[in-house]
Protein backbone atom coordinates (compact mmCIF):
# COMPACT_ATOMS: atom_id res chain seq x y z
CA UNK A 1 0.00 0.00 0.00
CA UNK A 2 2.77 2.44 0.96
CA UNK A 3 4.71 1.42 -2.15
CA UNK A 4 1.66 2.03 -4.27
CA UNK A 5 1.13 5.51 -2.81
CA UNK A 6 4.83 6.38 -3.10
CA UNK A 7 4.96 5.26 -6.72
CA UNK A 8 1.81 7.08 -7.84
CA UNK A 9 1.19 9.96 -5.46
CA UNK A 10 0.93 12.45 -8.33
CA UNK A 11 -1.96 10.58 -9.89
CA UNK A 12 -3.70 10.17 -6.53
CA UNK A 13 -3.52 13.91 -5.87
CA UNK A 14 -4.85 14.52 -9.40
CA UNK A 15 -7.89 12.45 -8.47
CA UNK A 16 -8.32 14.43 -5.21
CA UNK A 17 -8.20 17.79 -7.04
CA UNK A 18 -10.55 16.52 -9.72
CA UNK A 19 -13.07 15.42 -7.08
CA UNK A 20 -12.88 18.81 -5.34
CA UNK A 21 -13.72 20.48 -8.64
CA UNK A 22 -16.43 17.93 -9.38
CA UNK A 23 -18.02 18.47 -5.97
CA UNK A 24 -18.11 22.23 -6.54
CA UNK A 25 -19.79 21.76 -9.93
CA UNK A 26 -22.56 19.46 -8.72
CA UNK A 27 -23.14 20.65 -5.13
CA UNK A 28 -22.68 24.43 -5.15
CA UNK A 29 -25.69 26.54 -6.10
CA UNK A 30 -23.75 29.65 -7.09
CA UNK A 31 -22.85 29.79 -10.79
CA UNK A 32 -19.52 31.53 -10.14
CA UNK A 33 -18.61 28.70 -7.75
CA UNK A 34 -19.48 26.23 -10.47
CA UNK A 35 -17.13 28.00 -12.88
CA UNK A 36 -14.36 27.97 -10.25
CA UNK A 37 -15.00 24.24 -9.76
CA UNK A 38 -14.70 23.69 -13.51
CA UNK A 39 -11.36 25.53 -13.53
CA UNK A 40 -10.03 23.29 -10.75
CA UNK A 41 -11.31 20.23 -12.63
CA UNK A 42 -9.52 21.33 -15.82
CA UNK A 43 -6.28 22.01 -13.97
CA UNK A 44 -6.33 18.54 -12.42
CA UNK A 45 -6.50 17.01 -15.90
CA UNK A 46 -3.51 19.16 -16.93
CA UNK A 47 -1.60 17.97 -13.88
CA UNK A 48 -2.35 14.38 -14.86
CA UNK A 49 -0.88 14.88 -18.34
CA UNK A 50 2.23 16.67 -17.14
CA UNK A 51 2.84 14.03 -14.46
CA UNK A 52 2.91 11.39 -17.20
CA UNK A 53 5.57 13.34 -19.12
CA UNK A 54 8.11 13.28 -16.28
CA UNK A 55 10.92 10.72 -16.37
CA UNK A 56 13.78 9.92 -13.98
CA UNK A 57 16.85 12.10 -14.67
CA UNK A 58 14.82 13.99 -17.27
CA UNK A 59 15.47 17.68 -17.98
CA UNK A 60 13.24 20.27 -19.59
CA UNK A 61 12.82 19.54 -23.31
CA UNK A 62 15.24 22.23 -24.54
CA UNK A 63 18.25 20.79 -26.35
CA UNK A 64 21.64 21.15 -24.60
CA UNK A 65 24.84 19.09 -24.38
CA UNK A 66 24.71 17.84 -20.80
CA UNK A 67 21.29 16.19 -20.95
CA UNK A 68 20.97 12.51 -20.00
CA UNK A 69 17.35 12.27 -21.05
CA UNK A 70 14.58 14.72 -21.89
CA UNK A 71 11.07 14.75 -20.52
CA UNK A 72 8.39 13.84 -23.01
CA UNK A 73 7.57 17.10 -24.87
CA UNK A 74 4.25 15.94 -26.31
CA UNK A 75 2.03 16.35 -23.19
CA UNK A 76 3.64 19.75 -22.61
CA UNK A 77 2.49 20.85 -26.07
CA UNK A 78 -1.05 19.57 -25.58
CA UNK A 79 -1.42 21.24 -22.19
CA UNK A 80 0.20 24.52 -23.27
CA UNK A 81 -2.54 25.02 -25.84
CA UNK A 82 -5.21 23.54 -23.54
CA UNK A 83 -4.56 26.22 -20.89
CA UNK A 84 -5.22 29.04 -23.35
CA UNK A 85 -8.32 27.24 -24.62
CA UNK A 86 -9.51 26.71 -21.05
CA UNK A 87 -9.36 30.43 -20.24
CA UNK A 88 -11.29 31.17 -23.43
CA UNK A 89 -14.01 28.66 -22.57
CA UNK A 90 -14.14 30.06 -19.01
CA UNK A 91 -14.68 33.50 -20.54
CA UNK A 92 -17.62 32.16 -22.56
CA UNK A 93 -19.05 30.65 -19.36
CA UNK A 94 -18.68 34.01 -17.61
CA UNK A 95 -20.42 35.74 -20.51
CA UNK A 96 -23.34 33.31 -20.25
CA UNK A 97 -23.45 33.90 -16.49
CA UNK A 98 -23.60 37.68 -17.00
CA UNK A 99 -26.53 37.21 -19.36
CA UNK A 100 -28.28 35.01 -16.79
CA UNK A 101 -27.74 37.73 -14.19
CA UNK A 102 -29.23 40.32 -16.56
CA UNK A 103 -32.31 38.16 -17.11
CA UNK A 104 -32.97 36.98 -13.52
CA UNK A 105 -31.08 39.39 -11.26
CA UNK A 106 -29.31 36.55 -9.44
CA UNK A 107 -26.72 33.85 -10.09
CA UNK A 108 -28.03 31.44 -7.46
CA UNK A 109 -29.31 28.27 -9.07
CA UNK A 110 -32.13 27.70 -6.52
CA UNK A 111 -33.48 31.25 -6.87
CA UNK A 112 -33.43 31.01 -10.67
CA UNK A 113 -35.45 27.82 -10.36
CA UNK A 114 -37.98 29.54 -8.09
CA UNK A 115 -38.37 32.41 -10.56
CA UNK A 116 -38.83 29.92 -13.41
CA UNK A 117 -41.49 28.02 -11.43
CA UNK A 118 -43.30 31.27 -10.65
CA UNK A 119 -43.29 32.26 -14.31
CA UNK A 120 -44.64 28.95 -15.57
CA UNK A 121 -47.46 29.17 -13.01
CA UNK A 122 -48.61 32.31 -14.80
CA UNK A 123 -48.59 34.49 -11.66
CA UNK A 124 -45.56 36.56 -12.73
CA UNK A 125 -45.14 38.04 -16.16
CA UNK A 126 -42.28 40.02 -17.56
Amino acid sequence: MIDFIAAKYNYLICVCLMMIGFYAVIAKQNLMKKIIGLSIFQTSVFLFYISMAKVTDGTAPIVWEGAVRYDNPLPHVLILTAIVVSVSTTAVAIALMINIYKAYGTIEDSKIREIEAGESGGSVSR
Binding site: V15, M32, A60, P73, V84
Partner: protein, 177 residues
Protein backbone atom coordinates in the same frame (compact mmCIF):
# COMPACT_ATOMS: atom_id res chain seq x y z
CA UNK B 1 9.70 15.96 -1.76
CA UNK B 2 9.06 19.62 -2.52
CA UNK B 3 6.75 18.37 -5.25
CA UNK B 4 4.61 16.46 -2.73
CA UNK B 5 4.48 19.48 -0.41
CA UNK B 6 3.31 21.75 -3.23
CA UNK B 7 0.71 19.21 -4.32
CA UNK B 8 -0.73 18.87 -0.81
CA UNK B 9 -0.83 22.65 -0.54
CA UNK B 10 -2.75 22.73 -3.83
CA UNK B 11 -5.42 20.45 -2.36
CA UNK B 12 -5.78 22.77 0.65
CA UNK B 13 -6.12 25.90 -1.53
CA UNK B 14 -8.64 24.16 -3.80
CA UNK B 15 -10.84 23.30 -0.80
CA UNK B 16 -10.51 26.87 0.48
CA UNK B 17 -11.51 28.20 -2.96
CA UNK B 18 -14.76 26.28 -3.10
CA UNK B 19 -15.65 26.83 0.59
CA UNK B 20 -15.21 30.62 0.80
CA UNK B 21 -18.56 32.44 1.08
CA UNK B 22 -17.15 35.67 -0.35
CA UNK B 23 -16.75 35.11 -4.09
CA UNK B 24 -13.89 37.63 -4.32
CA UNK B 25 -11.95 35.52 -1.81
CA UNK B 26 -12.81 32.46 -3.82
CA UNK B 27 -11.38 33.98 -7.01
CA UNK B 28 -8.21 35.10 -5.24
CA UNK B 29 -7.75 31.56 -3.90
CA UNK B 30 -8.12 30.31 -7.46
CA UNK B 31 -5.38 32.69 -8.63
CA UNK B 32 -3.09 31.53 -5.83
CA UNK B 33 -3.92 27.96 -6.80
CA UNK B 34 -2.84 28.68 -10.38
CA UNK B 35 0.40 30.30 -9.24
CA UNK B 36 1.26 27.24 -7.15
CA UNK B 37 0.33 25.07 -10.10
CA UNK B 38 2.90 27.02 -12.13
CA UNK B 39 5.49 26.21 -9.44
CA UNK B 40 4.55 22.52 -9.62
CA UNK B 41 5.05 22.59 -13.37
CA UNK B 42 8.44 24.22 -13.08
CA UNK B 43 9.29 21.44 -10.67
CA UNK B 44 8.06 18.85 -13.21
CA UNK B 45 10.29 20.49 -15.89
CA UNK B 46 7.36 21.72 -17.97
CA UNK B 47 8.74 25.27 -18.27
CA UNK B 48 6.60 26.32 -21.22
CA UNK B 49 3.46 25.18 -19.44
CA UNK B 50 4.49 26.93 -16.23
CA UNK B 51 5.00 30.16 -18.17
CA UNK B 52 1.56 29.89 -19.74
CA UNK B 53 -0.12 29.06 -16.43
CA UNK B 54 1.53 31.98 -14.64
CA UNK B 55 0.39 34.38 -17.37
CA UNK B 56 -3.05 32.93 -18.08
CA UNK B 57 -4.26 31.08 -14.98
CA UNK B 58 -2.89 33.34 -12.29
CA UNK B 59 -3.28 36.56 -14.26
CA UNK B 60 -5.87 36.95 -16.97
CA UNK B 61 -8.37 34.32 -15.78
CA UNK B 62 -8.69 35.91 -12.33
CA UNK B 63 -9.08 39.36 -13.90
CA UNK B 64 -11.94 38.12 -16.08
CA UNK B 65 -13.74 36.66 -13.07
CA UNK B 66 -13.30 39.79 -10.95
CA UNK B 67 -14.47 41.94 -13.86
CA UNK B 68 -17.61 39.82 -14.06
CA UNK B 69 -18.08 40.02 -10.29
CA UNK B 70 -18.13 43.83 -10.35
CA UNK B 71 -21.46 43.55 -12.19
CA UNK B 72 -23.18 41.26 -9.68
CA UNK B 73 -23.61 40.28 -6.04
CA UNK B 74 -20.31 39.55 -4.34
CA UNK B 75 -21.55 37.13 -1.68
CA UNK B 76 -22.81 33.62 -2.10
CA UNK B 77 -26.30 33.41 -0.57
CA UNK B 78 -27.54 29.90 -1.27
CA UNK B 79 -29.59 28.01 1.22
CA UNK B 80 -28.14 24.68 2.29
CA UNK B 81 -29.89 21.69 0.82
CA UNK B 82 -31.86 19.63 3.27
CA UNK B 83 -32.50 15.93 3.79
CA UNK B 84 -31.02 13.39 1.41
CA UNK B 85 -30.23 16.06 -1.20
CA UNK B 86 -27.46 17.32 1.07
CA UNK B 87 -25.56 14.02 0.97
CA UNK B 88 -26.27 13.07 -2.62
CA UNK B 89 -23.40 15.07 -4.24
CA UNK B 90 -20.97 13.76 -1.64
CA UNK B 91 -22.03 10.17 -2.42
CA UNK B 92 -21.59 10.71 -6.18
CA UNK B 93 -18.14 12.20 -5.61
CA UNK B 94 -17.14 9.32 -3.31
CA UNK B 95 -18.17 6.67 -5.83
CA UNK B 96 -16.38 8.45 -8.71
CA UNK B 97 -13.27 8.91 -6.58
CA UNK B 98 -13.24 5.21 -5.68
CA UNK B 99 -13.43 4.25 -9.35
CA UNK B 100 -10.64 6.66 -10.32
CA UNK B 101 -8.41 5.49 -7.46
CA UNK B 102 -8.96 1.93 -8.67
CA UNK B 103 -8.02 3.04 -12.21
CA UNK B 104 -4.64 4.41 -11.06
CA UNK B 105 -3.59 0.84 -10.19
CA UNK B 106 -3.16 0.22 -13.91
CA UNK B 107 -1.09 3.36 -14.49
CA UNK B 108 2.68 2.97 -14.94
CA UNK B 109 4.66 4.23 -11.95
CA UNK B 110 5.40 7.95 -11.74
CA UNK B 111 8.72 8.93 -13.47
CA UNK B 112 9.08 5.49 -15.09
CA UNK B 113 11.20 5.96 -18.28
CA UNK B 114 9.82 2.69 -19.70
CA UNK B 115 6.18 3.84 -19.68
CA UNK B 116 4.37 3.37 -23.02
CA UNK B 117 3.90 7.13 -23.46
CA UNK B 118 7.68 7.58 -23.92
CA UNK B 119 7.95 4.85 -26.56
CA UNK B 120 5.74 6.03 -29.41
CA UNK B 121 6.46 9.32 -31.22
CA UNK B 122 8.21 11.33 -28.51
CA UNK B 123 11.72 9.86 -29.15
CA UNK B 124 11.43 10.92 -32.81
CA UNK B 125 10.60 14.52 -31.82
CA UNK B 126 13.44 14.66 -29.30
CA UNK B 127 15.99 13.26 -31.73
CA UNK B 128 15.07 15.13 -34.93
CA UNK B 129 13.69 18.45 -33.69
CA UNK B 130 16.93 20.40 -33.76
CA UNK B 131 18.21 19.53 -37.23
CA UNK B 132 14.81 19.33 -38.93
CA UNK B 133 13.36 22.61 -37.69
CA UNK B 134 16.35 24.54 -36.32
CA UNK B 135 14.53 25.03 -33.02
CA UNK B 136 16.29 24.20 -29.76
CA UNK B 137 13.06 24.24 -27.81
CA UNK B 138 11.42 20.91 -28.65
CA UNK B 139 8.06 22.04 -27.27
CA UNK B 140 7.88 24.94 -29.74
CA UNK B 141 8.91 22.79 -32.69
CA UNK B 142 6.26 20.16 -31.89
CA UNK B 143 3.67 22.89 -31.29
CA UNK B 144 4.31 24.83 -34.47
CA UNK B 145 5.72 22.31 -36.89
CA UNK B 146 5.06 18.62 -36.20
CA UNK B 147 1.60 19.25 -34.77
CA UNK B 148 0.82 22.53 -36.52
CA UNK B 149 -2.61 21.31 -37.52
CA UNK B 150 -3.60 20.77 -33.87
CA UNK B 151 -2.45 24.26 -33.00
CA UNK B 152 -4.48 25.70 -35.88
CA UNK B 153 -7.52 24.01 -34.33
CA UNK B 154 -6.71 25.42 -30.89
CA UNK B 155 -6.30 28.92 -32.30
CA UNK B 156 -9.68 28.54 -34.02
CA UNK B 157 -11.23 27.57 -30.67
CA UNK B 158 -9.80 30.71 -29.04
CA UNK B 159 -11.10 32.81 -31.94
CA UNK B 160 -14.54 31.17 -31.68
CA UNK B 161 -14.60 31.97 -27.95
CA UNK B 162 -14.00 35.65 -28.73
CA UNK B 163 -16.84 35.63 -31.29
CA UNK B 164 -19.17 33.97 -28.75
CA UNK B 165 -18.35 36.55 -26.07
CA UNK B 166 -18.93 39.39 -28.54
CA UNK B 167 -22.27 37.88 -29.58
CA UNK B 168 -23.37 37.38 -25.97
CA UNK B 169 -22.33 40.70 -24.48
CA UNK B 170 -21.90 43.39 -27.12
CA UNK B 171 -24.87 45.62 -27.77
CA UNK B 172 -25.37 47.94 -30.68
CA UNK B 173 -25.96 51.36 -29.18
CA UNK B 174 -26.49 54.61 -31.00
CA UNK B 175 -23.52 56.32 -29.40
CA UNK B 176 -21.17 53.43 -30.20
CA UNK B 177 -19.38 53.35 -33.46
Amino acid sequence: MINLMLLLFLVVIAIAAIQAKDLLNSIMYLSVYSLFMALVWTELNAVDVAFTEAAVGAGVSGVFMIAALTRMNRFESSRERTGLGKYFPMAVVAVTAAMLFYATVDMPAYMDPEAPIHKHVAPYYIEHSEHETGSVNIVTSVLASYRGFDTLGETSVVFTAAISVILLLRRRDKNEK
